[in-house]
Point group: C2
Chain length 344, copies 2
DNA sequence: GTTAGCACTCACGGGCATCGAGTGCTAACA
DNA sequence: TGTTAGCACTCGATGCCCGTGAGTGCTAAC
């Protein structure tokens, strides 16, 4: 037995209805609501076939059918293949970005808000990650008689700043001179490379050892912990509105997963650089998420680094709408981050 | 009719039991579990009095009694007056801060984690706020031929950085010179003051108009949005474990309140500079929180700014434990922030 | 003032009947 | 051969009844 065009249409209708209502859908519903020109009996036969093919599940004998993960997969694949991602929500997304926002973190926070409130699911936005940031300048800024603020500027912005101790007789000009020399030495390096170079540099440039040593420590410190990406989560409470989470335990598990940022980041970042990713139910590979789906899209910055936007919702997600919104938001963020710079 | 010592003891027992179990407590329970040397009938009479005095509520006639907000208030007040805040969880808090953490944001995030996992309630930690930060240095760091990174350092660290456009022929030294001149002009000012001064400065120091104008724009930008405090929230999912939130709608309202950061920050910041604050149920002034209590404590930094730690839980919160933990955590954070500087 | 006794209340949970949405199967029909 | 009407059957959901038990308030005795 094979899928034919009619089975396909019926399956489509079932998925649509189930996504809408969240209630198992019966044969009568299909034949009435979606005028197929077929009686409920015929639909019933087809549904029986579809179940045998693995596209439908039956919670119990006297309930309707619900789409299986396999069905959603088929649904999403055709959606993606035909490229029929509507972009009718285009303006509604752009509207939310009318006011200029400057800082990347703010943009990311805001994007998570917007996506979650448009989709009514949970949204996660991850800051770009990928290419190692490269040092552009090192600057020492006097703070007090004995300490200075070290600011390292990379092609991704100020990456880290920290107060370090310097000798006593360091005025602004001396610090500037040191900054310049050091900048010449390690410009263009990644943090790792800079760390490797430092001992040699310290040896070569005699004098100012204390400052340079402090800087060295600071760099290797930064190298370890640095570039922890920013992550924004929005609309976790949305999920409680879906009957899928009327079970408190499930809800709690889900929420506590949303709170363990590291794990969540890994899940969202997922496997990839693909423009779109859709993982349905078990495909997520996360036990707590067997009845969730995750849809992700990417955006990129001028440096070519990729950030990720993700939406987490029940398996019966409005995939097409979500894909559309993610698509637009991806472009929007790409524009913001790679077009004009911060302060245009 | 007045409160006497015995009524007090009975009320205490009722509160203790209810905090423990969350189930209305009956007269028999009290006379058996807390050996008062009184029969259930006597307790019953006293309970009836306590109800009349407004310290107890009765969900329905054949259920036990539950403490009213007024009862908790009394309970907490005696707790605070007698100063009997045990600190047996001292080491367990300190243990969580063994590894050195440097960045303030990380400390705050971590503190929220620790407090929520120790109390099993929801924890909120707000970064210090208070004194307006004062500018120490302005530094322009070349980024590309046409743009530079403006870094403003205040007595609270780098407060903001942003790329601005400069004229074409600006090398590192020129930018440094401008930075120095400007720093001399506005050192010690708050952002507002600096903004007020800028037009006059621009008029006076002819040349480099473009750079200064850009800086001006950036400053006034910063003035508006700046010093948005950092806030960390931990353990929101904990609340779902309490029967108080078995009602999904309540749970959703609560969670979505936790997501609206600004509102939440206002609530937690509350009215004050007091060392401890306990707001019980309606006292919170937040409709969504009539059956929550909020306990807050403060910590302070070297600069004398005050940050807030808050715990949100059901009204039947283990107040004494929470106060204890907040007390210790407050000291811990104060030590961290006012003792050694970042990079000691 | 305390307590034993007793009637009364009322949420909770199990058992039971009813209802209805939905199915599968069969037989008739185009 | 595919479609459809009809029908018996299944089974979760709903509502009702009723027994149970925790808890109360009141009264009378100590």
């Amino acid at each position: 037995m094979n899928m034919d065009e009619r089975k396909m249409r019926i399956l489509q209708a079932i998925i649509d209805d189930y996504i809408l209502t969240g209630v198992p859908v019966g044969s009568r519903t299909i034949s009435r609501k979606y005028d197929m020109g077929l009686s409920s009996a015929t639909i019933r036969n087809e549904m029986s076939d579809l179940e045998e093919l693995g596209f439908l599940d039956q919670p119990h004998v006297s309930a309707g059918r619900i789409p299986s993960a396999k069905a959603y997969r088929l649904y999403v694949d055709t959606l993606l293949q035909t490229g029929r991602i509507p972009d009718n929500s285009d303006e509604s997304v752009r509207a939310h970005f009318s006011g200029r926002i400057h800082q990347m973190e703010d943009v990311i926070d805001h994007a998570a808000q917007v996506v979650s409130s448009l989709t009514h699911y949970t949204a996660v936005v991850l800051s770009p990650k990928g290419v190692q940031p490269r040092i552009q300048t090192v600057q020492l800024v006097p703070v007090s008689a004995e300490s200075a603020l070290a600011v390292i500027v990379t092609d991704m912005g100020v990456i880290r700043d920290s107060v370090i101790r310097v000798g006593t007789d360091m005025d602004s000009d001396t610090l500037y001179a040191i900054s310049r020399t050091l900048t010449n030495e390690i410009r263009g390096c990644t943090l790792q490379e800079a760390c490797r170079k430092m001992p040699e540099i310290i040896r070569r440039l005699q004098g100012n050892d204390q400052v340079l040593q402090e800087l060295y420590g600071y760099l290797s410190d930064g190298q370890k912990t640095e570039h922890r990406p920013h992550m924004a989560v929005g609309g976790t409470s949305n999920m409680l509105a879906y009957p899928e989470y009327s079970d408190m335990d499930k809800a709690r598990n889900f929420l506590s997963l949303m709170e363990t940022r590291d794990k969540l980041a890994d899940i969202i970042r997922g496997n990839g650089e693909m423009a779109f990713t859709v993982r349905i139910g078990p495909e997520t590979g996360v036990p707590e998420m067997t009845d969730c789906s995750i849809v992700t899209a990417t955006y990129s910055t001028r440096g070519g680094q990729q950030g990720t936007i993700g939406v987490i919702g029940p398996t019966r997600m409005r995939y097409s709408q979500v894909l559309s919104i993610l698509n637009i938001m991806g472009h929007q963020l790409t524009d913001l981050f790679s077009g004009e710079d911060d302060n245009a």
